[in-house]
C-alpha cells in the first residue's frame, strides 16, 4: 500500500492522481503517438484489439519509465523548480511505493505485449525500459553531457515497437523512424536546457549548456538538426513513403533548421531573452507530431 507519514503520524494512502502523475502523462502522449504511428505505418494490420493492446503496453512501459525515473531522481527533482512539486519530492508518495508501481507496470506491460502480439516486440519494449532506466537515468544522466544523445535511443523505440507488434519483424522504415527520433532528441532537450540551465546547474546535472556553455550548445543544436532533417526526408527518396510525406517532411524540417539557425545566432544568456530557444522547443514537439501524422496520412490516404 502507498503511504506517506503525515505530521499526525497517520498513514495516508497516495492519491490516484499522484500515481498517474508518476507516469509523466505528457511525455507518455508523445510516446503513444509515435508508437501508434509506427503501428499504423506498417504494411500489415493486426486485429484491432491486438493493435490497441500493443499501444496500451507501450503507454504502460512509458509510464513505468516515468515512475522509475522519478523514483531514482527524487533528490534531483527536489532541487529544480520545474520538478519540485512532483509527487515524490513533494512528499505525497513514498519512494518504495513509486518503485513498486514502476517495476509492476514494467513487468505487466512487457508480459502483456508478449502475450498479445509477439515476443520480439515484448523484448524491444523491455530493452527500451531498461535502457531508459539503467543506461540513461542511472548511468549517463548524472555523468556526461552526452546523456541526452545516447539516452535518446530509449525514446526512439516506440515507433519501432509499434511496427514490430504489427508485423513481427524489423525493416528499413521503422529503423529510419528510430533514427529520426534519436537525432531529434538532442536539439529538443538542449533547446529546453538552454532556458532552464540554472535549474540543471543547481541540481548538478551535466547538461550541455552547464558543461560546455551556451555557444557550444547552440552550435550542437544546429549541427544535430541537419542529419535529423536528412533522416526525416530519407524515406521519400528511398521509396518507402509517398510524395505527400516527402514534401511535408522537407517543409517541416526546413522550418526546424531555420529555427535552429535562429538559435545559433542568438547570444543571450538570460532565459527572458531566449525567445528563439523557446520557439524551437515548442516547434520541435509540433514537428514530431506533424511528421508522424503525415507519415500515417501518406500510408492510409495516399499510398
Amino acid at each position: 500500500m502507498n503511504v506517506v507519514t503525515t505530521t499526525a503520524d497517520v498513514a495516508l494512502p497516495a492519491d490516484w492522481r499522484d500515481l498517474l502523475a508518476l507516469t509523466k502523462p505528457r511525455v507518455m502522449s508523445l510516446v503513444v503517438f509515435t508508437g501508434l504511428c509506427g503501428l499504423l505505418a506498417a504494411p500489415e494490420m493486426p486485429p484491432f484489439v491486438l493493435g490497441f493492446t500493443a499501444i496500451l503496453c507501450i503507454a504502460l512501459g512509458a509510464g513505468a519509465c516515468g515512475a522509475l525515473n522519478q523514483w531514482y531522481e527524487v533528490d534531483i527533482d527536489a532541487k529544480m523548480r520545474r520538478t519540485a512539486n512532483r509527487p515524490l519530492p513533494a512528499g505525497r508518495i513514498d519512494r518504495q511505493s513509486a518503485l513498486h508501481f514502476g517495476v509492476g507496470l514494467a513487468f505487466f506491460s512487457v508480459l502483456l505485449m508478449g502475450l498479445a502480439t509477439n515476443w520480439l516486440a515484448a523484448i524491444m519494449l523491455a530493452v527500451s525500459i531498461l535502457f531508459y532506466v539503467l543506461v540513461y537515468t542511472v548511468w549517463l544522466k548524472p555523468r556526461t553531457a552526452q546523456n541526452i544523445v545516447i539516452g535518446g535511443a530509449a525514446g526512439a523505440f516506440p515507433p519501432l515497437i509499434g511496427w514490430v507488434a504489427a508485423t513481427g519483424h524489423v525493416s528499413a522504415l521503422p529503423l529510419l523512424l528510430f533514427a529520426i527520433i534519436f537525432l531529434w532528441t538532442p536539439p529538443h532537450f538542449w533547446a529546453l536546457s538552454l532556458f532552464v540551465r540554472s535549474d540543471y546547474a543547481a541540481a548538478g546535472i551535466p547538461m550541455l549548456p552547464v558543461v560546455a556553455g551556451f555557444e557550444n550548445t547552440r552550435r550542437q543544436i544546429f549541427l544535430y538538426g541537419l542529419p535529423m532533417a536528412a533522416a526525416a526526408i530519407a524515406p521519400w527518396p528511398l521509396g518507402l513513403t509517398g510524395t505527400v510525406y516527402g514534401v511535408s517532411a522537407a517543409v517541416l524540417s526546413f522550418v526546424f533548421v531555420v529555427l535552429a539557425a535562429r538559435v545559433l545566432g542568438n547570444r543571450a544568456t538570460e532565459p527572458r531573452y531566449m525567445e528563439a530557444e523557446k520557439h524551437l522547443f515548442a516547434y520541435s514537439v509540433f514537428y514530431l507530431f506533424a511528421l508522424f501524422a503525415v507519415l500515417v496520412a501518406d500510408r492510409w490516404l495516399v499510398s
Partner: protein, 41 residues
C-alpha cells in the same frame, strides 16, 4: 475534513479504480484470446 475521513476516501477511491481496471483487463484478455485464436464472429 478529518485525516481519518481522507484516508477512507482515498482507499475507497483507489479500490473503485482498481476494480474498474481489473474488470477492463479481464475483458481485454477475453478479446485478446478471441483475436489470437482467430475466431470470426
Amino acid at each position: 475534513m478529518k485525516l481519518e475521513d481522507e484516508v477512507v476516501r482515498r482507499q475507497r477511491e483507489r479500490a473503485r479504480i482498481l476494480a474498474w481496471l481489473l474488470g477492463a483487463f479481464v475483458v481485454l484478455l477475453f478479446f485478446i484470446t478471441i483475436a489470437k485464436t482467430g475466431i470470426n464472429w
